[in-house]
């Protein structure tokens, strides 16, 4: 168990390091000069040069990478080119907003898709299964802004049932803010439903075909008991992994939804930073997403290992 844990941690750190390289060097090949972008085309060359020196972008790449990564390890995410202040408060506020939206989407989608997947598995190959599976799949490939637009037209414009902007304003109560987040959460739910339902379905089918399920049926347990006590407990294990891997998407892939619904989250922050060529902000935002994803995967692995004793000993469950 200890070696397993160490190995996972080592791989996690390796992944994060490569991620930081990708993010940093992709950031550096962005054309254009940050000082020029900040000051505009009419600024004097000397002013641009001075700001470059102040921002430290005239140093060699390796020096910049080392000072950037050194700062990160000390919790310093750098100084925003656009705002000229520390990046950290912006990232922190945006992360918090994104977590609210993602949490709401999760609370809706997890039970819904697990129920959908289990129903599909119980009726595998029949009309109910095909309907749930194909619908889930199709929904998962419809871009969020497409479903978002349709949802705004139906609920926001025609029915006027719910607010179409995500932020309720500074003085809004929690309940008002919650109402504002419902519509933005729906496109995320639609995209995620297909993945999670598919995993729940596959896990359930595997459990249904297993020896222990056959034994449970043969010894005369009622069908509902077999499903509840033998099938579901085993089938939901792989689903945990999928839910964890989607966390990275949820926190990060919010770019579109947050833009469409004008919500100050992490996705919106990254989008605006990319347009403004605000590298420190951009790099910090993207790295945070990577960290969240890697952590979520690690937690899922640990949870799975805890729930499934067979994996602690070594091999898989097949």
């Amino acid at each position: 168990m200890a070696t397993f844990l160490l190995r996972r941690l080592g791989l996690m750190i390796l992944t994060l390091w490569i991620l930081s390289l990708i993010v940093f060097f992709a950031g550096q090949i962005l054309p254009g000069d940050p000082a020029r972008a900040t000051l505009g085309n009419l600024a004097a060359p000397s002013a641009v040069k001075a700001l470059d020196a102040q921002l430290g972008v005239n140093r060699p790449l390796l020096t910049r990478y080392l000072s950037w990564i050194g700062g990160l390890l000390h919790g310093n995410m750098g100084t925003s080119y656009s705002y000229r202040t520390a990046v950290e408060p912006f990232v922190r506020a945006a992360l918090l907003n994104s977590i609210k939206l993602a949490a709401l989407a999760f609370v809706i989608v997890v039970p819904l898709s697990i129920i959908g997947g289990v129903i599909a598995a119980l009726y595998a190959g029949r009309a109910a299964d095909r309907f749930i599976s194909v619908t889930g799949l199709a929904l998962s490939t419809v871009p969020e802004f497409v479903s978002g637009v349709v949802i705004i037209v139906i609920f926001g414009v025609e029915l006027k049932a719910l607010p179409v902007t995500a932020s309720a304003g500074a003085n809004a109560s929690d309940f008002q803010q919650f109402r504002h987040l419902i519509l933005p959460a729906i496109p995320l739910v639609l995209v995620l439903f297909g993945y999670i339902a598919r995993m729940a379905r596959a896990g359930t089918i595997e459990a249904l075909n297993s020896d222990y399920t056959r034994t449970a049926i043969l010894k005369g347990l009622p069908r509902a008991t077999v499903i509840r006590r033998h099938v579901l407990r085993n089938s939901l294990l792989p689903t945990i992994t999928v839910i964890a891997t989607q966390t990275g998407y949820l926190i990060g892939g919010l770019v579109v939804v947050e833009t469409l619904f004008n919500y100050q989250g992490l996705g919106n922050l990254i989008y605006k930073a990319a347009i403004a060529k605000d590298f420190p902000m951009l790099e910090a935002g993207i790295l945070i997403i990577g960290v969240v994803y890697v952590l979520a995967t690690l937690i899922a692995d640990l949870l799975l290992t805890y729930l499934n004793p067979r994996l602690r000993i070594g091999g898989g469950s097949e």
């Binding site: 070696t3 397993f4 992944t15 490569i18 991620l19 990708i22 992709a26 090949i29 962005l30 054309p31 595998a124 194909v134 889930g136 799949l137 199709a138 490939t141 419809v142 871009p143 969020e144 802004f145 497409v146 637009v149 349709v150 037209v153 414009v157 025609e158 179409v164 995209v191 297909g194 993945y195 598919r198 596959a202 075909n209 294990l237 792989p238 992994t241 999928v242 891997t245 989607q246 990275g248 998407y249 990060g252 892939g253 770019v255 579109v256 989008y271 990319a274 060529k277 951009l282 993207i286 990577g290 994803y293 995967t297 692995d301 799975l304 994996l311 070594g314 091999g315 898989g316 469950s317």
Partner: protein, 320 residues
């Protein structure tokens, strides 16, 4: 079924191997993070001459192929049969609701939405197949090499793939599009490169299965070079998995390209494009001009659903 868990074992487990699904399960890839089950096809399915005939018996295949064909016709011939020029402005008729003259209404510049929807299919239908082909070719080469050689190469490549998978596809794509500037060529290369690790992962998993087979050891004993074994022996046998992966990726390429267009990194104005048109006009939802965004949105939805129906049919046939 170890899933993404990576149990402590040899280097082969450095990269998560997707759980092998049972035939008949909805063996589709999950999008952004690309967990994929095409391995199931590699294990269970073989492309046989009968497979194509089976495909022709599936209603979902006909529906998908029909919709796709419709958009291909629009992309090629749309400029001839669209009722108006997609660029023709009628500044006296802005934001007109759908009517007999303008079935889908007009946009703020008085351009005909129906004509823009018809002709807007062109760029996305050029970019997405090319990007998917690029990603599939590169991903296949990388995945074959990772699965065949294993060891340190697999470990290193696996880490890089994993690092890319930690980021949402659209974020990597727009990072690189911002870096190089939006153009058709950039979009194709960027989306192709972003898909490469995803496809490599599937092909690697399928290759690992095939590598255990006797025919591989036989041809190695026979003295065939690694390149010959990979491309001459293993590749034909992982082809069904690659075919499924390709069609599914095509769906996600549409997702990615449309999203990039929506974010302003794709097809540039005034060229008609569904994603860009939605981006330009969704502000007008509040005053109630819903037709400017709803019709392009339905066009994108119908195209991805068509591709997914085709992909699902192929997968069902190969896995049965």
């Amino acid at each position: 079924m170890s899933g993404l868990l990576q149990p402590p074992a040899g280097p082969d487990d450095a990269l998560p191997v997707e759980p092998v699904q049972r035939p008949g399960s909805l063996g589709m890839t999950t999008g952004y993070l690309g967990a994929t089950a095409a391995t199931a096809v590699a294990v269970a399915g073989r492309a046989t001459p009968g497979a194509f005939r089976l495909l022709l018996r599936r209603t979902t295949f006909y529906v998908g192929a029909g919709i796709l064909l419709f958009w291909v016709v629009c992309a090629i011939f749309g400029h001839w049969f669209a009722p108006y020029s997609p660029l023709a402005q009628q500044l006296l008729l802005p934001n007109a609701a759908p009517s007999a003259a303008h079935w889908f209404g007009t946009d703020p510049l008085g351009r005909d939405i129906l004509s823009r929807v018809i002709t807007g299919s062109r760029d996305i239908l050029i970019i997405t197949p090319l990007a998917t082909v690029l990603g599939t070719v590169l991903g296949t080469i990388l995945g074959l090499a990772m699965g065949y050689f294993g060891g340190v190469f697999d470990l290193i490549a696996g880490r890089i793939v994993e690092a890319f998978l930690a980021l949402p596809l659209v974020i990597i794509a727009f990072l690189f599009v911002v870096a190089v500037g939006p153009s058709t060529g950039t979009l194709i290369v960027v989306v192709g490169l972003v898909f490469t690790p995803l496809i490599a992962r599937t092909v690697r998993a399928a290759t690992l299965v095939e590598r255990q087979q006797d025919y591989v050891s036989a041809s190695r004993l026979f003295g065939e070079s690694p390149v010959r074994v990979m491309f001459g022996e293993i590749l034909p046998n992982v082809m069904p998995a690659i075919l499924v992966e390709f069609t599914v990726r095509l769906g996600y390429a549409i997702f990615a390209i449309a999203t990039l267009s929506f974010l302003g990194f794709g097809v540039q104005a005034p060229t008609p494009d569904w994603g860009a048109d939605i981006s330009a006009n969704y502000i007008n939802l509040l005053p109630g001009y819903w037709w400017q965004t709803l019709f392009p949105a339905l066009a994108i939805a119908s195209l991805v659903v068509a591709v997914i129906l085709i992909a699902d049919s192929i997968e069902q046939v190969l896995a049965s």
